[in-house]
Amino acid sequence: MHEMNQLTTFWFWVIGGVKVLAVFTVVMLVVAYMTLAERRVSAFIQDRLGPNRVGPFGLLQPIADGLKNIIKEETMPGTSAKLYFVLGPALAIMPAVVTFAVIPFAAPLPTPVGTVDMIVADVPIGILYILALSSLAVYGIVLAGWASNNKYAFLGGLRASAQMISYEVALGLSVIAVLLLAGNVTLTEMVWQQQQLGLWFVFPLSLAFIFFVISALAETNRLPFDMPEAESELITGYHTEYSAIKFSMFFIAEYSHVLTASALMATLFFGGWDIPVWTGDDMFWHEGALIRGFDDAGAPIAATPSVLITLLTLGAFCTKTAFFVFLYIWIRWTLPRFRYDQVMHLGWKVLLPAALGYIVLIAGTMLVLDQLGVPFGLLYGLVLTGVSGVTTIAFFFFIDRDRVIAGAHGMGAVARRREASRALLARRAAANPDGSVS
């Protein structure tokens, strides 16, 4: 929409096509190399080497894997519902590859034909587009599980639908806190608001970020929430009966979701393509002109986009996204899997009420700040950071109940429980010195 102000219709279509092709290719390549990263990082965590034989440092491994998956024999279970069995992987991969379209990945780029936004489609509904399409991802998994006509696959599909519905709620509620502060749903505007606030949203909305990370892990079916494909219980869950490229399509879908979720964490909470501290990269379309900010009188200051700024901001975006992809892998190879009832308990009884309460708190604090006439800026952000910080610490204190934070030296609750049972035994022994059973 914004490009139309600057580019002619012809160039709008040409550049739009180039952007679609480029982003799609890059996303698919990154997804392929995420599988390699996962295997190398897991090997590193487990003190192994990982795949390092195909090409230098194993860099050609994803290509070998892809080739293998394409030319392998495809099996089709005789008792499956054929149409839905084929439809499953197709429906799984479709939402996964289109969600990246609304994420801005760099500052606008000046070209001879006009300034080009570094985003495939700056739709006015922004984040809602991602939420809507990723809510469709569950159909692929559920249909695959059901059509396989296999009890393990079926249970995997059912678990997937229950889990994804439950955590969509928490995910949506954690995003609402961001929407309150940003005041809009488009991701370009969220990046701009973080530049205006002078603080990335992870500080004023620390608890929302934690909720977002937890629910995004559950939505992408990654450990510790990979109940739909829990190997120890369900073989591999919904894709038990799949082989060759259909099997691989589920993996491409999963890793694309991981990539999109990582890019979203970077954009919603870590400033997107914003470079910290430096304000020279701040850019936003304001009434048809690209601006850098407002002066004291409230008049817009024109921005000067350059190729260098675009490249630097692209680098910033890639670094942040890569960190969150690494975080995903790190968590997967560190934490054990939840039990199914624990997943449901966490989703409905902890995250849902906590996220609702947090929204009330953030909205209330913002109302007070607005009533006091505090301008949207650093002070505004710092007050919210204080409120959020206290809430975050309280939340962790509540759900941790000194199991982790107290650490091994005190053993917290465990030690107290052991102490209590020892005291109980001692009391019993004192009351019953001859040791007879009453």
């Binding site: 839905y84 006015p124 939420l131 809510s135 599909g157 639908s161 229950a162 519905i165």
Partner: protein, 175 residues
Amino acid sequence: MTEILFVLFAVVALGGAFGVVLSRTPVASLLFMVATLASVAGIYVLFEAHFLAAIQVLVYAGAIMVLFLFVIMLLNLGHDYRADLKYGLWSLLALVVAGLTAGVLGQAFWGASDTGFRGDGAAVAAALDAAVREQGAAGVIAEPLFTDYVVAFELMGLLLLVAIVAAVVLAKPKT
């Protein structure tokens, strides 16, 4: 371009609606329903109602229909639907209700031209564009919903609550 897309979405929406009624397995019906809902969302996008389209997909296609699918699969429904079919007085009643609904829809469609329902397309689109720029895609819907129509909105919530209570009463085992 817009006309081609509209025809495409309209055909898929209508075809899906027929598919819902005509297909024998409940899972197929459900997928046709999802296709219909998604096509209606596509038509909303053609009308520049992006927010409505997103909510349509998010709520109906992405949440409610997934729950339907969940229930169909969990209870393994649809093998003996013939016993559930009701004939006689019930089919007559269904015909009456269908006729009344068609009448209401027809009245809304053909009788609306003089009530300003079909205004000047370009002017409406321009006004909508300005409003979206001013308030954002969500604000355009949220503001009237929570000011002018707040009573109706709350009553809708009450209606859903009544439906939930009714479901609980129906599902309770008869003692």
